[in-house]
Amino acid sequence: MEALRVVRWRVSALAAVGAIAAATSAWPLARGEAAPPCTAPRLDGGRTISVADYRGKVVYLDFWASWCAPCRESFPFMNGLQRDLAGKGLEIIAISVDKNEEDARRFLAGHPAQFALGLDTAAACPAAYQLPGMPTSFLIDRAGVIRAVHAGFRSGDAAEIRRQVLEALERH
């Protein structure tokens, strides 16, 4: 009887710790899930940029920041994607999570972008997408479903991302 009580006590203590752990962490979005709506002011002219407006197109949604070192490598890669695949229906949206617009603009002065740019100082979009790291990119298909998630960016990822983008473009 006493042993049973000890076991019950231990189980409830474990459950309490588990509940705390679950409350402080959230699961990032995974492939197969619907892309959440996300609207942010534009950085490149125009008023706002919204992921939902791109339904029917393949979207490569990238979250970046001026302080994010790998983003310096991902920008030339995304310019290449834009150059090669924009004609086939690919739309690249890069949303900055900078708190300060000047920081984002300074980054863009050194790393020019040929794709759509947004700035979400309120961090609503990164919270909705639960980014696992910086940068993170989401490949969203024509039906608005996430097809791939890439956390971080290494130059070795480029070929795999390009293959996934081509696959999404050919699917429908």
Binding site: A13, T24, F63, V97, K99, L131
Partner: protein, 74 residues
């Protein structure tokens, strides 16, 4: 047994209360942490300058580290 359970309960309550003071810094909120002034190690040029000054004050090169034989000739 009852007393030890109370102690455990108090410890668990303390842990739960302490968790309220923890904040998860999300990956997209790390801009401030990424500033150079937040680095745990100082920039290399600054460290080199400080070491140079320290070496001069100590009257010899590598005053912070090189082991010697006690001859006073470093």
């Amino acid at each position: 047994m009852i007393a030890s359970r109370r102690v455990l309960l108090a410890a668990l309550a303390a842990v739960v209360a302490a968790c309220g003071g923890c904040a998860v810094v999300q990956p997209w909120e790390r801009g401030t942490l990424a500033k150079p002034s937040m680095a745990t190690v100082q920039p290399p040029h600054e460290t080199a300058q400080k070491l140079r000054t320290y070496n001069a004050k100590e009257g010899g090169a590598a005053a912070t580290g090189v082991g010697g034989g006690g001859c006073g000739c470093n």
